[in-house]
Symmetry: C2
């Protein structure tokens, strides 16, 4: 279902995933105007949202391309009109037949790789099905995950191999500055942004000098896309979690608490004044087990507890979770107002990590103020 009868939040079942439409729109607008002012095209990452309704809010004829983290996401968004994909996870050979199906229907799917083994697997599979796969080489700009260091001669070797292959096209380079999540201030994030840009641009230049032209030079993450000051030389910047923001992003200074568009509506099911805590019906099944702020200056536990209007209730956080139980207590030991919070009270829990919390739900209940007036489906699986 894509819409439903409007309902007061106060009358909804719990737990439920709420998406504040106005904050979502504001987050979209802020990122687009920021990147427009820096004159760099944007390729939104839709692994956080996994929702065609949200894609429609971001994409435009000038901006029709997306990033995905699974083949399933590419298939889903293709069915909703998207044609240009960067699949930003190292390609597993067992996924190539499904990618080929998408290509035969008209999709352009850029695949990531960082090894000759993958390059040869693409060539072989492409030869078998009579297609030419599009490949970008992943650069490791900060040692946090996959990719090859920008100075690695293996990059040049793979690029030359791709260039000389009949069933793979060398499309360029990409990197993901996941290390930006480990920064603790804006200067650190700016340094990471410069580092990922430099890694891709310098490597692209080196390849270009050998006649290996990159049509895609791609970098970005929500922190670096927010604070990066110079994207010159790149063909695109990517970001995804900025759509919703979360407590990790707030902890990094990338957004304010008020920018967080996602929350989990929950109901108080027990109060324990003698232990200064209460229990809500949102456990890890509704919030996820993500503890993204565990090593931040402010540890927000499994989520920051707000009133039904989304305003934080002091420093109440979800400190522990079982499958369907969330234990709520004050982060600082401040007394809980049990007059206000009693069995049956509704609260909204802001997510530690929006990608992880959204992944626990099948639908967004889209809210404007006090009212939920649409239900948007999320796709999932692989």
């Amino acid at each position: 279902m894509s819409s439903g009868v409007a309902m007061k939040i106060s009358q909804m079942g719990t737990p439920a995933l709420l998406l504040d439409r106005n904050k979502l729109q504001r987050n979209i607008d802020v990122m687009q105007s920021r990147l427009q002012s820096l004159k760099v095209p944007f390729r939104v990452h839709l692994k956080t949202a996994k929702c065609a309704k949200i894609a429609a809010m971001v994409l435009s004829p000038n901006n029709p391309s997306i990033t995905v983290s699974t083949v399933r996401e590419a298939e889903y968004f293709f069915d909703h009109g998207v044609r240009d994909f960067l699949y930003a996870v190292g390609i597993a050979p067992n996924k190539l037949s499904r990618v080929a199906q998408l290509m035969k229907k008209g999709a352009v799917v850029r695949l990531c790789l960082d090894s000759m083994v993958q390059a040869r697997a693409l060539q072989e599979a492409g030869s078998n099905c009579g297609l030419a796969y599009d490949a970008v080489i992943e650069i490791d700009c900060d040692g946090h995950r996959g990719g090859l260091p920008p100075q690695s001669p293996e990059i040049d070797q793979i690029a030359r191999y791709l260039k000389g292959s009949s069933n793979v096209r060398f499309c360029g380079l990409m990197t993901h500055a996941g290390g930006s999540y480990d920064m603790r201030d804006i200067d650190g994030i700016r340094t990471m942004a410069a580092q990922e840009r430099d890694a891709v641009v310098s490597c692209g230049q080196r390849l270009s000098d050998q006649g290996l032209r990159s049509e895609i030079l791609s970098a970005g993450s929500t922190p670096t896309a927010t604070y990066g000051q110079d994207w010159s030389g790149l063909t695109e910047v990517r970001a995804g979690v900025y759509l919703f923001h979360d407590l990790v992003m707030a902890g990094l200074g990338v957004c304010s608490i008020d920018d967080i568009a996602l929350s989990v509506l929950a109901c108080v099911i027990a109060v324990q004044p003698e232990r200064q805590r209460l229990i809500v019906d949102a456990g890890w099944m509704a919030l996820s087990r993500d503890r993204g702020t565990a090593d931040h200056a402010v540890d927000q536990g499994y989520g920051l507890v707000c009133d039904i209007n989304g305003r934080p209730l002091g420093d109440l956080v979800v400190t522990e979770t079982n499958q369907e139980h969330g234990i709520v207590a004050s982060r600082t030991g401040a007394p809980i107002d049990f007059e206000r919070l009693c069995v049956g009270s509704l609260v909204r829990v802001l997510p530690s990590h929006a990608c992880a919390t959204a992944a626990m739900h099948r639908h967004y209940h889209v809210v404007d103020g006090q009212e939920a007036n649409a239900v948007w489906c999320r796709d999932d699986g692989w």
Copy 2:
């Protein structure tokens, strides 16, 4: 779909949730014979499995009742023939209308509560819809979550109120010894088992002495159901994760690694010999963010990495996860056999916490040896 064409595991897409049918059956048989030998009825908890096919393997005409953690689970299993439910999470008043719908169709749903506020909400809602809700009072036997301490006079007060109410029935007492998960040896688990039994039985006796008879006296968790030696006085024992077992249960000594029936099939997408690690296409989206063994003697990270036959590959574990990336390294620093594990190799990752890992998937791929020969749906949501 409930079955499909048989397929070799080696030909499956990744990531995928595998369920070893023989281990599942063995786990079911072991628990049933253990509790039969102790002469206590069993009420399986199906929050882990969420699957009618698995319910059918456990339930019998002698054993037709289940535990659930959401109203949705009760609705789903009702649609698959189950009629007797214990909803083992403190009841939120906003769920009572859906419970009433189930009751009108013929379900018996025991609701948990630990406050007069809830008791009065049940009476009021029951009065409004002309039904009598069935209620059990939750006892807190170890301070870990909800419920009232067994000696609390509030229990007697609530029981008397329920007994005197026209639209609620007092059905008895339940407790959950979640504290058993914090034990680190079998003696500790046995102590917890005796503690939860004693809490419920002694409290039930006290109420009985006042003419408040309990038809249900319920306790149990997988660790205590496995090692408890005396369940006399209880009307039932509950357990759920034993169906699959996991690395947390293995770490507690409740099962062996070989008993773990659930695994996530994943494909190697990058090797980094210079860093002695590799990357698989199962991140937290496929494994969950659960780190249940983090404070165990053996920290299994986000999962123990096995070959395609389910045999551990030395001490390789998933040490870090991103959404669709899992970083694999040796827990002890032993060198990785990169001849054997190269891009395209398939591995099976045993779950840290089976409930959490299963929750990330819509289907079980049921395997017998090397072959997946059925697809069983999981239900989810609230």
